[in-house]
Symmetry: D2
Subunit: 139 residues, 4 copies
């Protein structure tokens, strides 16, 4: 079961990643999973009004990271080792993105998270990503 | 909704891929998804009794292919363009593998399928894969 | 052979992606390949002084995009459909990143680019990425 | 520098993986890299005479595995954790496949190998793959 709440994770994010903290809202923390909202702002957009690829990558990366921390606590310095992301549809213009993330594996040295990104209120997914994190040994 | 049943797909597999037809049983066909059983035989195993990586790749590839055909019919010559697969746990020895596949996208030229592979009766997934197929234009 | 020069690509980038144009310098355009420098600024960094994952994703994405445009010209609205990226080493602090990109395939509907990202002057690669772009039919 | 020769690797393969040993010929072992030939036989083919996807996956997997062993010796029980593979062109009919593999990283716990697969004598690559292996701690 999670050892950090959504509030704990917000506090952690604000302290460690002040430059992105206002981008993300943790909407739900559950066993081996998390739901994160990206509050879309002008700076996330490409010409035409859709959210940029790097912004979606960022949402995917943060979501898996926070899902891991929620389970193992804030002491870990996990780093991304691999990300595979499929961009499947254009995001709806001017709409927040919601990432729904499940940890498929939370091992001693590797964790694997899988997620779908959707435009808020739209069923068909915008993107799908799978990320692997390397978890350093505890001190 | 699917236009081919599990029986239709078995018939198609036997005609087009006689060399692998006895490996796979289609257990369920649903809207944009499929469940396929790999009947594990000696030839699928690595020393130690676990199913080999190429065999799991084969299960993933066939599952997405059949999920696409179920939706668009047997006329298509879809080809795999990308596969990303994460191997997360050792399969249980001497146990069939079950692939649960969902099509995340079924476009005019590209389809994306996502699947989990589990040892029959075991909840924790053995592998996760995402595959992209290119669908040639209809004649 | 390329139909756009480094200067052409800089002009295109400035017109179409004004928000990122100052991040990237195209150092070389060659047949089916390109070398792009990311001028690392404060905003690209994570705590600790290393370049963030989303920034490296952005460099990878732009590099393959520009390698494609260099070959087919600026008329195309190519979109990323898949990216697989491996993060292998920490970038050197305060150092530009260099992406060396090769197009492995430039088909009628799909292009595949492969690249290594290195810290300027360091041989061991920081990251490796492979991206697929979908190329829309010409009007 | 490598600690195993091509002959050492053939002997290892014959002892540990007798079911596939006759498929592969190690053509070159170099520092952080290897070249492996798949001797194409009837059983590797799909209808139409092209090499099947699982066979190419198998070639990719074996090549990275042997490249790692060549560098660290036969004691290791390395396991594949991730593979991303792009299928770009149809292999030439009735022609061996050649995999050219480079290790991009050979760390204490993770190794990353990158490779191109070509039909023997044809420059344009058939497939590209990147694999991550997890290396267990030495006893």
């Amino acid at each position: 079961m999670p050892v950090m709440t959504a509030d704990d994770l917000h506090t952690f994010l604000a302290a460690e990643f002040p430059q992105v903290k206002s981008d993300f809202v943790i909407e739900e923390v559950r066993d081996m999973g998390i739901r994160v909202r990206l509050k879309v702002e002008e700076r996330h957009l490409r010409p035409g009004g859709t959210v940029s690829g790097p912004t979606m990558f960022s949402l995917a990366d943060v979501s898996v990271y926070l899902a891991i921390l929620a389970m193992i606590g804030p002491q870990a310095l996990a780093v991304t080792t691999n990300c595979s992301i499929d961009f499947m549809r254009k995001p709806a213009a001017g709409t927040d993105l919601i990432a729904d993330c499940t940890l498929l594996k939370l091992g001693r040295v590797l964790a694997v998270g899988d997620l779908l990104i959707r435009s808020d209120g739209v069923e068909a997914p915008v993107a799908h990503a799978t990320l692997t994190y390397s978890i350093p040994p505890r001190g």
